[in-house]
């Protein structure tokens, strides 16, 4: 009885969560006639790939897609290298003046700034160094944006790793860097991968910085491209839905791969301090 009640409550939640996304997918596959039909056809319509062709071949969405991918991958790689090194340093070296804890907290706190607060000065800084409307500007900004997250996550993984293993490697005659490369990194590889995926998702989804820093077809990311279509007067619903549908594919793939780490990642190690 109670068990069935559970389903009665959960099923609507499920429908409510998924139906809107499904609806967007159908719009991207519908002819204009079906798009505006009333009552709205949820299931029965003649599918077409025309909007996908329009978006990615006729229009510049293909280019936005490439920009998004390049920016996300490059900035993630940079953040991982710089952030993992810092996390290792903070987790394994004893620094004076309680710097380990202080620096960790300071690094984390930079992640707490509202994006709009840094967006305004970053726009002006990028304008000053003539990097507006370049992929480089986004790569730089996303690297900095993801860095605190990488440090925080990897710090946790390093701290969980028994010290014995590195000590054994040193006694066995390996150098510190050798121990890092041959013993430590292989062991935190799953955590590193999870962290990378989070950074990719965040960079892929990011909107405000991209909106502020890139306004040309050559430099804008997929979200900015989609948003540009939405706020136009004459909206191409099919094209927009097609682009949006493509934008969610990598996210869904990654999210499924990552369920295990989701809570830890999303709550950012949760300010436990």
């Amino acid at each position: 009885m109670i068990k069935n009640l559970r389903y009665v409550l959960l099923l609507p939640a499920l429908v409510f969560a998924l139906a809107p996304v499904y609806w967007m997918l159908t719009i991207s596959l519908k002819t204009e006639v079906d798009q505006f039909a009333s009552p709205p056809p949820w299931f029965v319509f003649t599918p077409t790939l025309q909007h996908y062709y329009d978006a990615f071949v006729t229009r510049a969405f293909g280019q936005y897609l490439i920009t998004s991918a390049v920016v996300a991958v490059t900035s993630t790689a940079c953040a991982l290298v710089i952030g993992t090194a810092a996390a290792y340093g903070l987790a394994r070296f004893q620094l004076p003046w309680r710097l380990n804890r202080r620096l960790s907290l300071w690094i984390l706190s930079t992640r707490m700034f509202p994006a709009i607060v840094t967006a305004v000065p970053l726009f002006l800084m990028m304008r000053d160094v003539r990097l507006l409307n370049t992929r480089a500007s986004l790569i730089i900004v996303y690297t900095a944006f993801n860095l605190p997250f990488v440090v925080w996550m990897m710090h946790g993984f390093f701290a969980d790793l028994p010290r014995d293993l590195e000590e054994a490697a040193l006694v066995d005659g390996d150098s510190r860097l050798g121990a890092l490369v041959r013993v430590v990194l292989p062991l935190v590889a799953p955590g590193l991968a999870a962290t990378a995926v989070f950074c990719l998702i965040v960079s892929w989804n990011e909107f405000l910085f991209a909106l502020v820093l890139t306004q040309t077809d050559a430099a804008m990311t997929l979200p900015v491209g989609i948003a540009g279509r939405v706020t136009q007067y004459e909206i191409k619903w099919g094209v927009m839905s097609a682009a949006a549908s493509v934008a969610i594919v990598p996210i869904l793939v990654f999210a499924l791969a990552l369920q295990k780490y989701l809570v830890r990642g999303l709550s950012l190690g949760a300010v436990k301090g």
């Binding site: 967007m24 009333s38 709205p40 800084m125 989804n205 969610i248």
Partner: protein
């Protein structure tokens, strides 16, 4: 063995160089953050203290003085608070409810969990697109479906209606972020050991009493953390509203981030935008400090 045992306590050839290696590891990250988080803040402070006037740049607190009498600013603040409070309440109650429902071994739990996660993983821009399609008064799925059930949808213009626009953007946030609240609380619930429940059962407490005296107190850290993170995000909301309404109709859904954006990138008044962004920064800092105080008090207790 004490936790504080540090691996690289180990000797080095020269103690002068003891800090060289850690510095090599940590410095790049610090430099990046100094250049791209701290320097922008300082930059922002300097421009917030400058006002462009006919006679050139004037230094002072003029931009901050303007805030007090700027109705757009005050309304945007009000919108931000309404938005944050309403969305936080709904997301928390719904998320807690879902977490309690799914904190049992039931068939299809994995499927439920995975599906509920979809909204929060989406790019906010896509969320905006999805809900523009759903809420469109003419061909949107929502009104179309309501019509099928014989409901008069003529006045339900959602994001285009000054009356319903705020409600709509709040609903969209609830749609997207309730899963996050749910996920964190579910993890919190699953971390609670079984013994307190068994003890409560033996003591003869009712379901409701058990929830109130066992579950809630033990879940409190998770609750505080999720409320903290959501509050921070809600106060700075930008993306979805920008796509859904651009702050409109009129200025009915203009929150503080949107107003800062409009000031900086439509009117190019960067000084004033910077001044406002400091108010937002101060606000989020104060609120997070309060939460963290609570959190630490709970841990100490």
């Amino acid at each position: 063995m004490p936790k504080s045992r540090r691996f690289f306590n180990a000797p080095r050839r020269r103690s002068k160089h003891e800090l060289l290696l850690p510095a090599l590891f940590i410095a790049p990250a610090l430099l990046v953050l100094l250049a791209l988080s701290i320097y922008p803040l300082i930059y922002s402070i300097t421009i917030s203290l400058q006002q462009e006037t006919a006679s050139g740049v004037k230094w002072g607190l003029g931009n901050f003085a303007r805030l007090v009498s700027d109705n757009f600013f005050l309304t945007a603040m009000a919108h931000t608070f309404v938005y944050a409070a309403a969305a936080l309440t709904c997301e928390f109650l719904l998320g807690l409810g879902l977490a309690l429902l799914l904190n049992k071994q039931i068939r299809g739990r994995g499927l439920f969990r995975a599906s509920l996660l979809v909204p929060m993983m989406l790019p906010t821009v896509v969320v905006g697109v999805v809900w523009r399609l759903m809420l469109n008064p003419n061909f949107g799925a929502l009104n179309g479906t309501l019509k099928q059930f014989g409901i008069n949808t003529e006045s339900l213009t959602w994001t285009a209606s000054p009356r319903l626009a705020m409600l709509s953007v709040i609903a969209v946030d609830v749609w997207q972020w309730t899963p996050f609240v749910f996920l964190v609380l579910l993890a919190g619930l699953q971390a609670i050991p079984q013994e307190p429940y068994e003890a409560a059962l033996i003591d003869g407490s009712s379901r409701w009493q058990t929830f109130w005296h066992v579950t809630l107190p033990l879940l409190k850290p998770s609750i505080l953390i999720v409320l903290l993170l959501r509050t921070m995000d809600l106060l700075r909301v930008f993306d979805q509203i920008f796509i859904l309404t651009e702050g409109g109709p009129g200025f009915a859904t203009e929150t503080i981030s949107l107003y800062i954006y409009r000031t900086a990138f439509r009117f190019f008044d960067f000084g004033y935008a910077a001044a406002m962004s400091f108010v937002l920064l101060a606000l989020t800092n104060v609120i997070s400090a309060i939460y963290i105080r609570f959190l630490q008090a709970k841990e100490a207790a």
